[in-house]
């Protein structure tokens, strides 16, 4: 990943790193909810819910739909990109290790250490 992507990803993860915010996100992932509806379901004040939703929105995880006078929050489908970025970084690591392993075998006919670094 580029530094820019890493920053985006880190922001997404950081946004979900707060237990209350993760609860808020989990709730709206089940069904779109307003600030008041989220506050009713958690031991959290409305202003605090608003603040958590703002952080989630800035991290690209949450979208706001205005329906009449109601503002409903729902997951941002682009947040799914998190899974993609995760798999991207997984193959970076995997292919680098594959290359090292294949080249060690080609060079010496002996496998490199298969132990992972701690």
């Amino acid at each position: 990943m580029t530094p820019h992507q890493t920053t985006l990803q880190a922001r997404r993860f950081a946004a979900l790193g707060d237990p209350t915010r993760l609860q808020v996100f989990t709730l709206i992932a089940r069904a779109p909810l307003s600030v008041a509806e989220v506050a009713d379901r958690l031991p959290v004040s409305r202003p605090a819910v608003s603040q958590h939703l703002k952080v989630l929105a800035e991290a690209g995880l949450v979208l706001r739909d205005s329906i009449g006078t109601r503002n409903l929050y729902r997951p941002d489908p682009d947040g799914m990109a998190t899974m993609r970025d995760f798999i991207d970084s997984l193959w970076d690591v995997g292919l680098a290790r594959f290359k090292a392993q294949a080249e060690a075998l080609a060079r010496t006919g002996t496998a490199a250490s298969t132990k992972e670094k701690p």
Binding site: T2, H4, Q5, L8, Q9, F13, L16, G17, L22, F25, T26, A29, R30, G60, P75, P77, D78, M80, A81, T82, M83, R84, D85, F86, I87, D88, S89, L90, W91, D92, V93, G94, L95, A96, R97, F98, K99, A100, Q101, A102, E103, L105, A106, R107, A111, A112, T114, E116, K117
Partner: protein, 163 residues
Amino acid sequence: MRSITRAAEQAVRKSVTVAAPIALAFEVFTGRIETWWPMASHHIGQADCAAVVIEPRAGGRWYERGVNGIECVWGQVLVWEAPRRVVLVWQLSAQWQFDPLLHTEVDVRFTAIDDRTTRVDLEHRGLEAYGADAMAMRDAFASPNGWNGMLDHYAQVAGSARG
């Protein structure tokens, strides 16, 4: 540099050039996964992973075997054209669990540049399945192993990338 990911471009593409003959590169990739896969952090069984096995035929299984002998399926073999191409169905969810409804594909092509050098092009596609299957993702979000689990995985990947 790739811009912010959009649903329309949900494939991961990687290329790596390996100083190894094509037959060896293919054999290491498909037959000795446990020697290079970041296994300590990325396996799905409860027990430590003893091996990752790709059965060498179309329709074969792709699974891990724990040190306790229990096998956990990752997916299946879609295309087997040794030593030039293998396509695997990867059916691990965001929760790192086998999900028969999830279908993503890992397409790996091997090209001999000369007798001792091979280019490997990997495409992991169909990742929009993670977004398209709203039910599955909703469960993933709601699960304690969902996003939190991914956080742990990510930290481990980042750690082994530095290592």
